[in-house]
Symmetry: C2
DNA sequence: CTGAAAGCGCTTACAG
DNA sequence: CTGAAAGCGCTTACAG
């Protein structure tokens, strides 16, 4: 089409794709560029993808974007992705994981990469081969696909040390209803860490809600009597959103925080510094997670825009198990505020 | 490919697309279906789009998905879209609108529809023709493209009536920094509505922040002295997120809400019922907005999955201006809670 | 009802 | 350095 104002479609293709290095004369480059300007030409992404066998879109699959946490993950991804690739998001309903049908439709787009937040077994099983895949926040799945995780152990250890230093000897845990690995792991690490420190972990497995203040508030109202009667003086919540609900419900019930009950969360959402009392929380750096995921994608397939160095295979840091060592771990750290 | 187990690609195409009505024999249908099962065949979306000239993806372009408001818009869209179409989201950075380059990349995907939240002039100017377009929450742009808006007038009127009935005679407004039409309109309607009711509108145009509690809190701390000295006893905030920040800052400053200062928002986010004091707000039904947008898209191009009725041109309800009447308006209603 | 064939708009060896 | 040509995997008239 654009050849109308230049010469030959092959040349046009080379120019608009910046592959002119010693293959197209300057005069032709100029003519094509001029024509592009005039006609407002833009490469048809669909046709281009078909011909190349892959597109330039990267899809992030996340269960619930209304969680402000994802905002940071997204900006990390976009920052690292640059302009060559385009980020598109696919969301499922609140607390629901994407279905097999969703997955197929996604893969049929031939994405340059699929970034999946907190996948479940079913999703991974249904995933047809073909698209480069990176898992985010999926502890325990490192063997199934390249994964970027948080290093929760350190943050949770610091949290428990802090609670112990405040004199707490019995703690409760308000879980997330979302059945994802990360919450599973949080619970286990808390339970185990408590035991190691001689803290009683008062388990009420039913105490769990979706990631929202309302749901958490309702659960807290329901189970607070049991925690109180069991002598719980500190409640660890699965996310900051859960903690907000607990803070609100505690205020309604006239429970003083942190005097009667200390409350903590995970994430360090922006609002956590300004809720009252300000929330003690284990910070999960979403932006770093997003960046790490893109890097893992790039490592997987020479996806680098400017083909920096010919990807030199990284020297294994140890003889043990290079594959394991390669799993990027994003540090989580404790932030102490007034709620504990 | 899949013909290996059946016969002819044309037949396969007809079957997988469900266009068999009197065109394919039952025995062939069965054979194709069986082959699809066996090989796990899935239509290549890219090639299909190229051949058909359009894809089955609908793209929602929104400035900031971390605002929980969009969660509702998204579920409304998905519910109305059904399974034939796939929703993908494109986000820009916080408070930033998509650029011309973004727009082109989006259109190059040949989306079945482009849903754009709160677009600005530049975006609309750069938008290449081609993709069916619907604007969401873009008052004043009804002439540029099919648009679905909130009917803010009623909700704002009710809000001002309520404030007046509580004895407030001087009000302030904490604006959004995001330069979009909807905020422009909120401000104007408040200013005008106040005048009509004999309420003083104390204008501080600089008092504005991005849609986040932190930003709003900082602005409030900064401008509260001026509002107070001007005799302001009620502060209307551009969104609930702004109001949360004000509530938090007011508590820090020892300002009693609502005794010393009444605070209100817009949106009715889930958390608004549980913040303390609970927030009076003008509810903006995001889900209905999303549904309305998809309906507008479908009306625009026979996008209906099952081709219900041959789109009968709706009878104009009045002789006045059918085009204007066609703009769907989603009602906004006041919800009174303890903060005012 | 069915298959052969053209065409969607690009990209990429390939021969000059 | 440049253009003619094949091919990416589908869909859709078209002729049987």
């Amino acid at each position: 089409m654009a050849e109308r104002a230049g010469t030959s479609t092959a040349t046009v293709s080379l120019v608009v794709n910046g592959k002119t290095a010693g293959r197209v004369s300057q005069s032709n480059i100029d003519r094509v560029l001029a024509a592009v300007q005039e006609l407002g030409y833009v490469v048809d992404h669909t046709a281009s993808s078909l011909a190349k066998g892959t597109s330039n879109i990267v899809i992030l699959v996340a269960p619930d974007l209304s969680n402000p946490f994802y905002g940071r993950v997204i900006s990390g991804i976009k920052a690292e992705l640059g302009n060559e690739y385009q980020l598109l998001l696919s969301v499922t309903g609140e607390g629901r994981n994407p279905s097999a049908a969703d997955v197929h439709r996604l893969v049929a787009l031939r994405p340059a990469g699929l970034l999946v937040e907190a996948p479940d077994d079913e999703f991974l099983r249904d995933l047809p081969a073909g698209a480069p895949l990176v898992l985010l926040d999926a502890p325990g799945r490192e063997t199934q696909a390249p994964t970027v995780n948080f290093d929760l152990r350190g943050g949770i250890g610091a949290l428990l040390d802090h609670l112990a230093s405040q004199g707490h000897t019995r703690i409760g845990y308000l879980d997330s209803l979302t059945r994802t690995e990360t919450f599973e792991l949080r619970r286990k690490l808390i339970e185990r860490g408590a035991a190691e420190r001689g803290i009683d972990y008062v388990a009420i497995p039913e105490a769990a809600s979706l990631i929202s203040p309302e749901g958490a508030a309702a659960e807290f109202v329901r189970y607070w009597p049991r925690w109180r009667d069991a002598g719980v003086t500190a409640l660890v919540c699965a996310t900051d959103s859960h903690a907000y609900g607990v803070l609100g419900a505690a205020r309604e019930l006239g429970i003083r925080v942190p005097d009667t009950l200390a409350v903590t969360g995970f994430d360090n959402l922006p609002a956590s510094a300004i809720v009252s009392p300000a929330l003690t929380t284990v910070e999960l750096p979403g932006e770093a997670l997003g960046r790490g995921a893109v890097q893992a994608l790039q490592a997987q397939r020479g996806m680098t825009a400017d083909a920096v160095d010919p990807v030199e295979p990284a020297e294994p840091r140890s003889a043990a198990d290079p594959a394991r060592l390669a799993v990027p771990l994003i540090g989580a750290r404790l932030i102490v505020r007034a709620s504990s």
